[in-house]
C-alpha cells in the first residue's frame, strides 16, 4: 500500500491511471477511512488530492461558482456569497455527519461515494450543478446526476477524478432548499430527502423548477413530473398537494434498517412540499 500527495492534477491522474491494484482518492476521507477500517476496501494506492493547487478553493467566476474537490463542507458554510446564492446546496452540505466530519468531508466525495442517501446530492441535482472531470484523455464537464450510476458505483473511468463542482450564477427571483428526514436531530444518514430549486417570474409564478429526491431509488431521483406540477403556478395548497403526490409516486424505495417503503414514499412527498415552501420563500414568493 502506498500513500501519495501529488501536487498537480496531471500527476494525480497519471498515478491513478497507472496503479496496478485498486486506487482510492482521498479528500476528506470520511467515507474512505471507514471503508478501510471495516475491511471493505484495501486500496493499493491512496491519492491525497489536497495538495493540488486550486482543489481546496471556492472560486467565484463569471459563470457562477467553482467548488474545488477537496473543499471541506464546513468551508462552504463559511462562504457568505455562496451561502446567499445557493442556500439549499450549502444547508445540504452542512448536514453531512457531525461538526467533526464537516471539517473533512467534501461534496465531491459525497457525490463519488454514490450513496442514494447522500445529503448534498439531491440539492446539487436540483441546483443543476455540474462536475468537472479530469482524466487521462483530458477534461469534460457533466451533470452531477450523471456521476452516480448505482449504490457505490459511478460513471468515472479508471484514472478519472472530479476536480470541481460548478454552480451557475443565481438567476433573479430564485431560491433552493434541501430537507432530509432522520430519526435523530443529527448524525444520521437520510432516510429520505428532497431538494427543490425554483425560479419565479415577477408575479411569483414558478417558471423553472427542479425537484430531486434522495434515498428514494438506487440513485438520486430528478423528478421531472414534480417540476411540471409546479411550473406555471404559484405555490398554493393545490400545487403543494400535487407535488407531494407526484414525489411519493415517483419513489422506488426499499425496506431497510433505516426505513420502510411506505414511510419513504409518504415522507418524500411531505419533505418535497416543505422544501418547496422554503425555496419559494427564498425566491421571494409569497
Amino acid at each position: 500500500m502506498r500513500y501519495i500527495r501529488p501536487l498537480s492534477i496531471e500527476d494525480a491522474v497519471g498515478q491513478l491511471a497507472g496503479s496496478a491494484g485498486p486506487a482510492a482518492i482521498l479528500a476528506g476521507g470520511s467515507d474512505l477511512l471507514v471503508r478501510m477500517k471495516g475491511g471493505f476496501v484495501e486500496p493499493e494506492l491512496i491519492v491525497d488530492i489536497k495538495g493540488i493547487p486550486g482543489f481546496s478553493d471556492i472560486r467565484e467566476t463569471a459563470e457562477g461558482f467553482s467548488i474545488g474537490a477537496a473543499v471541506p463542507c464546513a468551508v462552504l458554510g463559511e462562504n457568505a456569497v455562496l451561502k446567499k446564492a445557493w442556500p439549499g446546496v450549502v444547508e445540504a452540505a452542512k448536514l453531512i455527519g457531525s461538526k467533526q466530519v464537516q471539517g473533512r468531508c467534501t461534496i465531491t466525495g459525497n457525490l463519488c461515494n454514490a450513496s442514494p442517501a447522500a445529503d448534498s446530492v439531491p440539492a446539487l441535482v436540483a441546483a443543476g450543478a455540474r462536475a468537472v472531470v479530469a482524466g487521462p484523455s483530458g477534461s469534460r464537464t457533466i451533470a452531477v446526476e450523471a456521476v452516480p450510476t448505482g449504490p457505490g458505483k459511478t460513471s468515472l473511468a479508471k484514472g478519472e477524478i472530479i476536480e470541481a463542482i460548478l454552480l451557475s450564477k443565481r438567476a433573479a427571483r430564485s431560491g433552493d432548499a434541501y430537507l432530509r428526514f432522520i430519526p435523530r436531530t443529527e448524525m444520521d444518514i437520510a432516510v429520505v430527502s428532497a431538494g427543490v430549486n425554483l425560479t419565479l417570474d415577477e408575479a411569483g409564478v414558478i417558471k423553472a423548477a427542479r425537484v430531486a429526491l434522495g434515498a428514494a431509488a438506487p440513485t438520486v431521483l430528478l423528478v421531472e413530473e414534480a417540476a411540471e406540477a409546479l411550473i406555471g403556478r404559484k405555490l398554493d395548497d393545490a400545487a403543494l398537494e400535487r407535488l407531494a403526490k407526484v414525489c411519493s409516486g415517483a419513489c422506488r424505495p426499499i425496506d431497510d434498517k433505516r426505513g420502510t417503503i411506505e414511510f419513504r414514499r409518504k415522507v418524500a412527498g411531505v419533505l418535497a412540499g416543505r422544501a418547496a415552501t422554503t425555496a419559494y420563500a427564498r425566491a421571494g414568493g409569497k
Partner: protein
C-alpha cells in the same frame, strides 16, 4: 510496506514519527506517541471520542491518516491545561460533574473548545448542535451543556 516519515506540530511541540500509509492519526497519537487522551469509541467518526483540532478545524482523528498530518498543527486534550492552570472548560466540567465515566470527556472538551473559539456566546441550542458529534452515554448531556455555558461565561469575562 515502507513507513512514511511525518513532521508535524502537536500542542505546540515539533514531533516526528513514522507511520503506515493506512494508519489513522488516532493510532499514531495513541500507540506511537503515547497521547492516549483521544479515545477510540467507534473508529468510524460516529462518536467523537477521538476529536482533535487540526489546523483550527475540529476533526475525528480516526478519520484522518497519520500521513496527512505532515506540516500541520494538531491540538489534543493533553494541550489544554497550561502548567498548573486548567482550561476554563476543564475546570467547569469538574465543577458541574459533566462527566461520569469520563471516556467521552477529552472529545467533548476539544469539541467545546472549538465551538467557543468560533462562537463565544452560544445559545443552548447552538451548544447542543455544536456538540452533537460527541456521544455521551452517562450524563444525558445536561451537565455537559451547563458546563459549556458556564465556561463560555467565564471566558467572555476573561
Amino acid at each position: 510496506m515502507a513507513g512514511i516519515a511525518v513532521s508535524t506540530t502537536i500542542n505546540g511541540d515539533a514531533v516526528e514519527y513514522l507511520c503506515q500509509p493506512d494508519e489513522p492519526l488516532l493510532d499514531v497519537l495513541r500507540d506511537r506517541l503515547g497521547l492516549t487522551g483521544a479515545k477510540e469509541g467507534c473508529g468510524t467518526g460516529d462518536c467523537g471520542a477521538c476529536s482533535i483540532i487540526l489546523d483550527d478545524r475540529l476533526v475525528c482523528s480516526c478519520l484522518v491518516l497519520g500521513a496527512e498530518a505532515q506540516g500541520r498543527r494538531i491540538e489534543t486534550v493533553e494541550g489544554m491545561a497550561h502548567g498548573e492552570t486548567l482550561h476554563p472548560l476543564q475546570q467547569k466540567f469538574l465543577e458541574h460533574a459533566a462527566l461520569q465515566c469520563g471516556i467521552c470527556t477529552p472529545g467533548f472538551l476539544i469539541a467545546a473548545k472549538d465551538l467557543l473559539a468560533k462562537n463565544p456566546d452560544p445559545s443552548e441550542e447552538e451548544i447542543r448542535f455544536g456538540l452533537a458529534g460527541n456521544l455521551c452515554r452517562c450524563t444525558g448531556y445536561d451537565k455537559i451543556v451547563r458546563a459549556v455555558q458556564d465556561a463560555a461565561h467565564v471566558m467572555k469575562q476573561a
